[in-house]
Amino acid sequence: MENTKKERFHKQCKYNQYVKQKSPKPNFFKNAIWAFLVGGIICICGQFIMNTLKVIGLQKEEVGTATSIILIFLGAFLTGVGIYDKLGKRAGGGSIIPITGFANSIVSPAMEFKTEGYIFGIGAKMFILAGPVLVYGFTSAVLVGLIYLFIGK
């Protein structure tokens, strides 16, 4: 029993080494540049939308929400027509981190699992990535509120 355990461990180590050897090494510098450029450009688009909405005369808080809604629409649409995922292959974090990437993380699996039906396919799978984000976002926000209530005053 002890022996097989050791053997298995040994095998696992060997396997891990093998995987490390074979898996392509990420090009840190190149990836970082791409992420910076694409992420930065998406934020410039966001800034442009914000400034435009301000000129139109929206309230300060409305501007933030409206900008998010527009960017989410764009992210979802570009994912639908297949442009966003092409961009994502190069941009990595630059396309994932902005709010457009959040929309992408909803549309992408939802389209993929369409064949499984409207409830368990689209309805359930669209939250495969967005679900955790909402769970942890909402939970931590409520906790922050509660903490503020008890010690913040």
Partner: protein
């Protein structure tokens, strides 16, 4: 000028995410969750507000900004209406984005089919 600041701040946040994905075993899902939670915590500590003031959309467009919106709404509503506000504030502040994400996400998934097979 605000465009340059948005570019730099937004780009930097995305690079941090990219380096986390390349340098560690974290998947995009991990990074997204980590960034939202960080946004909430940093806002609660008062660190993120100055970054938003400086970077504008560069700070609010990344998913960290979603955490910022949630935490800000939560704290504001808690100030106004106590314990009930702690529960309603964050979700209320993020409601527009979440509803848009759900509705547009659903509609786009209905209309379009995945392109990867071509």
């Amino acid at each position: 000028m605000d465009y340059i600041r948005a570019f730099i701040v937004g780009g930097t946040i995305c690079v941090i995410g990219q380096l986390l994905m390349d340098g560690t075993k974290l998947t995009p899902a991990h990074v997204l969750v980590l960034f939202v939670t960080s946004g909430v915590i940093l806002t609660a500590l008062g660190i993120y507000e100055p970054i938003v003031k400086f970077g504008g959309a560069g700070a609010t467009v990344p998913i960290v900004g979603f955490g910022y919106t949630l935490a800000k709404g939560s704290i504001k509503a808690t100030k106004e209406s106590g314990i009930l506000g702690a529960f309603t504030g964050g979700v209320e502040a993020g409601a527009g984005g979440v509803a848009a994400a759900v509705v547009f996400g659903y509609l786009m998934a209905l209309i379009f089919n995945p392109k990867s097979k071509k």
